[in-house]
């Protein structure tokens, strides 16, 4: 005779099962991160720092699971661990052999200068054809965990040896371009994201709040003309929902658009024509007029972006006969860059943007805030980098570096022996100019 089955309590079931799974995942993640931290070779200490942070954080979560984490938080903690586990791939891929290791250290120095001391970068390849930046991991781990009463951030600080002034980011580059140092001028754009994030936090939200009501009103008129079908209970809220979706889509496009454009502006400011050249070469792979919508991850059209970078390096694309610019060795490079101007002259991207109410309003927002945002973001750079890179002002140095490349010498010093170290920006410009010179003589060069 079987006894009657007790009433099934789903909340209790989840508490038991999920608690056990979260503990197992946290312990496993901690051990895995520790193994990677101890066994792999990295060119800088940063990957180990992130591995230690993940290892110690998940170990402390594992300790807390049994008694201290409330049932209501288990699912979110589980998601937190799943995401932190994904971050280990940044560490793993930063192994020396996977990176352009000789460029990693000088690039990290420049990125640190731009983003502020205490900032650490992991540089790693990704199989997708894209450059990207993620982080700051430590700040976001802290933000989630500091309000969890069952967790001690102080213990993480101690065990992972990390202070609150430190920031950890990961910059990714396409694996296939590992040795293509010239394309890595796009890292200037990526460091821009760190500065622009500050602008978004300090300014975008407030500006958006001010603009939202007007944007909502514009959508409201059209939605009310043909309201979505709804039952008696939610007639008005169905209209509000439709407006809310359009307003949020506008917010996403505006935020993503102004962010990318500001980052391009920072890249152009730091690397000048090298940033424009890298963007042109990269953009050639894609549609120039793909509108900013979810299928294109809301990115601004490449033509729009090229137009903005052209504006920031316009001085270097002009002739300055009085100072002999561009000299013969730079002429093919400057000529090649002028093609960007011709691309930017077409307004086909603008037409597409203006034909869609969401992108139209988003780009109105961007246009309104562009000048103040750009000034504000460039103002965040340290004094050493506050002046934009101008090839037309540094061309003598760049030409001397091109001559070194022609002689199969590294373009690392200027002014002969003993000379002085060349800047990363000059080196990249010289590299691009040398490439343009070669392609000018032989279009198939380098392929």
């Amino acid at each position: 005779m079987s006894s009657p089955s007790p009433v099934f309590d789903e909340i209790a079931w989840r508490d038991t099962e999920l608690r056990r799974e979260v503990r197992r995942c946290a312990t496993g993640l901690s051990k895995l991160a520790k193994t990677i931290q101890l066994t792999e070779d990295f060119i800088t200490p940063t990957p180990r720092k992130l591995a230690a942070l993940i290892s110690e954080t998940s170990a402390l979560i594992a300790e807390a699971v049994e008694r201290r984490i409330p049932t209501a938080e288990l699912a979110a903690v589980n998601s937190f661990l799943s995401n932190a586990a994904l971050h280990l791939r940044f560490v793993e891929r930063a192994r020396v052999a996977q990176t352009p290791w000789s460029l990693v250290q000088p690039a990290e120095e420049l990125l640190k200068l731009a983003a502020g001391q205490g900032t650490h970068f992991i540089i790693r390849p990704t199989w997708s054809y894209n450059y990207s930046i993620r982080g700051d991991f430590w700040a976001q781990y802290k933000r989630y965990l500091e309000s969890r009463k069952w967790f001690s951030l102080d213990l993480v600080r101690q065990r992972a040896d990390i202070s609150d002034t430190e920031k950890v980011y990961c910059v990714s580059f396409p694996r296939i371009e590992r040795a293509n140092a010239l394309l890595h001028a796009l890292w200037g754009h990526e460091v821009g994201h760190i500065l622009v994030a500050r602008w978004v936090r300090d300014t975008f939200d407030t500006e958006w709040k001010k603009a939202e009501l007007e944007i909502k009103k514009k959508f409201e008129a059209s939605v009310r003309k043909s309201p979505p079908p709804a039952g008696e209970l939610f007639k008005e809220r169905a209209i509000q929902d439709e407006i809310a979706k359009l307003t949020n889509a506008t917010r996403v496009v505006a935020q993503q658009g102004i962010t990318e454009l500001l980052c391009d502006h920072v890249g152009g400011h730091l690397f000048g024509p090298a940033a424009l050249a890298a963007t042109l070469e990269f953009a050639a792979r894609f549609s120039l007029d793909a509108p900013p919508e979810s299928s294109s991850q809301n990115y601004p059209p490449w033509r729009y972006r090229i137009r903005q970078i052209v504006l920031s390096c316009d001085a270097d694309l002009a002739d300055h006969a009085e100072i002999g610019y561009p000299p013969p060795k730079l002429k093919p490079f400057v000529e090649w860059l002028r093609e960007a101007k011709r691309i930017a002259d077409s307004k086909s991207d603008e037409t597409l943007i203006r034909n869609n109410p969401v992108t139209n309003q988003a780009y109105d927002f961007i246009t309104t805030h562009w000048t103040s945002a750009a000034t504000s973001v460039i103002g965040m750079l340290p004094p050493e980098l506050s002046k934009p890179y101008r090839l037309s002002e540094r061309y003598a140095r760049v030409v001397s570096l091109i001559e070194r490349i022609e002689q199969r010498l590294p373009p690392n010093t200027v002014d002969g022996y003993p000379g002085s170290p060349a800047s990363l920006q000059d080196i990249l410009c010289a590299g691009w100019a040398y490439k343009a010179l070669q392609i000018h003589g032989n279009p198939a060069w380098g392929t």
Binding site: P70, T71, A72, E73, A75, A76, S79, F80, S82, N83, H87, T126, W127, S128, N130, Y131, S132, I133, R134, G135, D136, F137, A139, Q140, R143, Y144, K149, L186, H189, E190, H193, V196, A197, V200, R201, F204, D205, T206, E207, W208, K209, E212, E232, L233, F234, E236, R237, A238, Q240, D241, A244, K245, T247, N248, V252, Q255, Q256, T259, E260, Q297
Partner: protein, 173 residues
């Protein structure tokens, strides 16, 4: 910048909403609330009042810019969760939208001031508390699904997850 912080925001909001949902049950069972639960209820009440365009915000100008953006981003999820429990509203005897609006106003009021009802704050009935629980719990789950796709494979184009908008991604070229 699609910030790493958006995931943290989703996790935090989801945790708070789930806390608030479970606390509503506790209130119904007349059990004591701890400090975290009281804070979660208060936060949920204030936040939902900003999110829901159907209930009046006392003074929209006082809303912090960051909260305004959070509300913009979460509003479609809020309406979707509300519509999803439409049948439960009908079952509970709701027939007009004004009744829903009045109920939600009462719910937010109770969340903002958890504790003994009084001074013009009517007590939630059992069916109302249950509707409140379903709305908060539904939102908590919907936000988590945005973070980790509820365990189903994420959309991806490579061996890595770089293309997904919902991981701690912040930006790409």
């Amino acid at each position: 910048m699609e910030d790493l912080s958006s995931v943290v925001s989703l996790l935090t909001m989801s945790s708070n909403l789930e806390h608030a949902a479970m606390s509503l049950r506790k209130i119904l069972e007349e059990r004591e609330l701890d400090e975290t639960e009281t804070a979660a209820l208060k936060w949920a009440g204030e936040f939902l009042r900003v999110v829901d365009w159907g209930t009046a915000v006392p003074d929209a100008q006082d809303v912090d810019g960051h909260v305004a953006v959070q509300a913009t981003s979460i509003r479609p999820t809020f309406y979707a969760c509300l519509f999803r429990i439409g049948p439960e509203f009908k079952e509970a005897g709701f027939t007009k939208e004004s009744e829903v609006t009045s109920f939600l106003g009462k719910l937010y009021h109770n969340l903002e001031q958890p504790g003994a009802p009084g001074r013009g704050r009517p007590k939630l009935k059992a069916t109302e508390a249950d509707l409140g629980y379903q709305l908060l719990h539904g939102m908590a789950e919907a936000l988590l699904v945005q973070v980790d796709s509820n365990g189903s494979p994420r959309p991806y184009t490579t061996d890595e997850w770089d293309q997904t908008p919902n991981e701690f991604a912040i930006a790409s070229v």
